[in-house]
């Protein structure tokens, strides 16, 4: 067990808590940077997709994991990002100018949606975002001038820094750089007063309000920041899939994002990466399951939603803190080695919390 002797207040908000952190995360970045030397194009594509999912996951994690607001329509932001990016590129805006515009547009869309519906809490918010997700999907279909409607919209793959997006090694580095940048941005937002206000709202709205947190402002801000991250992920996703169709951004994608943060671990940025790895490899996992099941069940199309639901229910009931929570427990076990107590993480007895006044 490592004890950090704190001599300054600023140590509390350091990004790296101690030299071990610095060493391991630097090593991780080096390994990620060296991956194209050993992996072939297929795996690089998969890992790029995982990076994109992680960025979208960071967006939803800030909203749901840190501010405690559920969103069942987050695919809409992916759609806004993807379509804006494709539209700008088609009209000859270069890549390096398009990405900031996408981020600003998704931020504004997040704020515009956020301000009216954030008077709602809990369940009502979940329902409202669900409805907004449907409406957004419908807008993508009907606003043909902008999105190409059901015909779809091809995404131009421009040159950037003299390299083409068709080059999977280059695309991998682009995704990796954006993921690291997004991670840094998220860490910094979350350790700033804004991020602390988010966590305060999540833990108790009344307490946060009595400490002077403007609930409406910070909730709208959380929605907007979350939208900006997810919009950025949408822009990268547009390059990844190459051809946009409105039915990509459906409710199933929104729920996949939620699965990502629940499986990864609510309220931790590590969780977004774990969750993205899980969701990214889920199709392969299902393919493996199909091979082991008898063919009468294994070949059914219903297997996918069923496994999806089972995983979700399993994590909610038995490991609410997700993969990251499990990782923390394993780590603690080895840190405390002979003296680990099973009771440390025992579920406490809880009672119904009421939203009624």
């Amino acid at each position: 067990m490592r004890f950090i002797f704190k001599t300054k207040y600023s140590q509390d908000i350091n990004i790296a808590k101690h030299n071990g952190d610095r060493f391991w995360y630097s090593l991780l970045i080096l390994i990620m940077a060296a991956l194209p030397l050993v992996l072939d194009d297929f795996y690089l594509g998969e890992i790029s997709y995982i990076c994109i999912l992680s960025i979208a996951g960071i967006g939803l994690m800030i909203l749901s994991g840190y501010t405690g607001l559920a969103s069942l329509g987050h695919a809409a932001f992916l759609g806004v990002g993807a379509y804006t990016h494709a539209f700008l590129l088609t009209n000859g805006i270069p890549f390096y100018a398009s990405i900031p515009i996408v981020i600003v547009v998704s931020f504004l869309v997040g704020a515009a949606i956020g301000i009216p519906i954030l008077r709602l809490t809990g369940m009502y918010l979940a329902i409202a975002t669900l409805a907004l997700g449907f409406i957004a999907e419908h807008v993508f279909i009907k606003w043909e001038h902008f999105t190409g409607g059901n015909r779809g919209l091809p995404v131009p793959q421009p040159e950037f820094l003299g390299m083409s997006f068709y080059d999977s090694v280059f695309f991998y580095y682009v995704c990796l750089v954006f993921l690291i940048a997004a991670m840094f941005a998220a860490i910094n937002i979350l350790r700033s007063p804004t991020g602390r206000a988010f966590v305060a709202i999540r833990d108790s709205e009344i307490a946060a309000q009595s400490l002077g947190v403007n609930l409406g402002l910070y909730k709208a801000l959380s929605f907007a920041i979350s939208g900006a991250f997810t919009g950025l992920a949408g822009a990268l996703l547009a390059h990844y899939i190459g051809y946009l169709a409105p039915d990509i951004f459906n409710i199933f994608l929104s729920l996949t994002l939620l699965l990502l943060i629940v499986v990864g671990g609510m309220g931790s940025l590590h969780g977004t990466v774990f969750g993205a790895i899980f969701v990214g490899f889920l199709p392969q996992l299902i393919a493996i399951c199909r091979d082991y099941l008898p063919s009468s069940i294994g070949s059914q199309p219903g297997l996918e939603p069923m496994l999806f639901g089972l995983i979700l229910v399993f994590f909610i009931l038995y490991e609410p803190l997700g993969i990251y929570g499990r990782w923390m427990k394993i780590k603690l076990f080895f840190q405390l080695f002979p003296t680990y107590k099973r009771q440390t993480f025992k579920k406490q007895k809880v009672f119904t919390k009421s939203d009624r006044v």
């Binding site: 749901s64 405690g68 559920a70 069942l72 009216p116 519906i117 954030l118 008077r119 709602l120 809490t121 809990g122 369940m123 009502y124 979940a126 329902i127 409202a128 669900l130 409805a131 907004l132 449907f134 409406i135 419908h138 279909i141 009907k142 709205e205 609930l215 409406g216 909730k219 729920l255 939620l258 629940v262 609510m266 069940i297 059914q300 199309p301 219903g302 297997l303 996918e304 939603p305 069923m306 496994l307 999806f308 639901g309 089972l310 995983i311 979700l312 229910v313 909610i316 009931l317 609410p320 809880v350 009672f351 119904t352 919390k353 009421s354 939203d355 009624r356 006044v357």
Partner: protein, 293 residues
């Protein structure tokens, strides 16, 4: 005359939304949980009815009653075994849990029954009656009458029966009800079973119109609009909200040219968002249950 015709069709589809919304409201009033799997339970009801009536060849009414019974028992154990474990967790956890359950039901249905579209014969199929130039199909009539019968049965149950009163007491205040000797956990499971039974009724009544396949679970999402419009927590509100949504949808479909293209499919969601923004208490809520910032 065309308007009245539209109203009748709207009321019939609205009754289905209302019945599903009623399921949300019953569970929400009691446990402050929203069951996002309500539409999927409706789908299970329709499939079970298809198995009993369409495959086993049972009489319509017997099959109907048996379906409702099976789904009600299923709802009871769904609460007692799975959903009860989540009590005390934040709202987010219950939302995710019920969404996950919905996926399991849908996956199960498409594995067990397949992804084809099924239908079974009812005494109402294909029959119509004419009244002053209005054309009313027996199916629509059966939905309206069925809803009315179910509503009055529920009204008498909640007003006069001992269990019904115990349910209202538990919804009002769990702790006080528990002190009065009401077995609150059991009552909550019973509420889940009633709510699942109501969804099954809606599923069987709806089956002749939409036919039976896994996509009918999407009705559950439109029923949210009905529940919110009626003020989550009010039983008559759910039905009235459902009927309003049904009528709005019909009108939007007919006068689409005057509005904008595709308004019909999203009209329910638009009503939902507008209600939440303008008047989040809903039409029939007796007290302000929505916390405001």
């Amino acid at each position: 005359m065309q308007l009245i015709q539209l109203l009748i069709d709207g009321v019939a589809s609205g009754c289905i939304y209302g019945l599903v919304a009623l399921g949300f409201v019953l569970i929400y009033k009691a446990t402050e949980t929203i069951n996002f799997a309500q539409g999927d339970i409706l789908m299970l009801g329709a499939f079970v009815a298809y198995s009993l009536i369409g495959i086993l060849g049972m009489d319509y009414l017997t099959g109907f009653a048996l379906t409702v019974l099976i789904i009600a028992v299923f709802g009871f154990f769904l609460d007692a075994v799975v959903v009860r474990q989540i009590i005390g967790q934040p709202a987010f956890a219950t939302v995710m849990l019920t969404i996950g359950l919905g996926f399991i039901f849908r996956g199960f249905a498409s594995i067990y029954w397949g992804t084809d579209i099924f239908s079974f014969s009812t005494p109402f199929s294909g029959k119509i009656t004419e009244f002053n130039g209005l054309i009313i199909s027996y199916v629509n009539l059966s939905i309206i009458v069925g809803t009315a019968v179910l509503m009055s049965a529920l009204y008498f149950f909640f007003t006069f029966s001992k269990i019904g009163v115990a349910m209202r007491a538990s919804s009002e205040n769990q702790l006080a009800a528990y002190y009065m000797g009401i077995p609150v956990k059991f009552i909550f499971s019973l509420i889940w079973s009633i709510s699942a039974g109501v969804a099954a009724v809606a599923g069987v009544l709806l089956a002749p119109i939409t036919l039976v396949d896994t996509s009918i679970s999407l009705i559950g999402l439109k029923a949210f609009a009905a529940a919110v419009l009626g003020g989550f927590g009010s039983i008559p509100g759910a039905i009235v909200g459902g009927i309003i949504i049904g009528i709005v949808e019909q009108l939007c479909g007919t006068y689409e040219n005057y509005l904008f293209e595709g308004v019909r499919e999203i009209s329910a969601y638009l009503v939902l968002i507008l209600t939440l923004i303008i008047y989040p208490r809903g039409l029939f809520s007796d007290k302000a249950e929505v916390k405001k910032v």
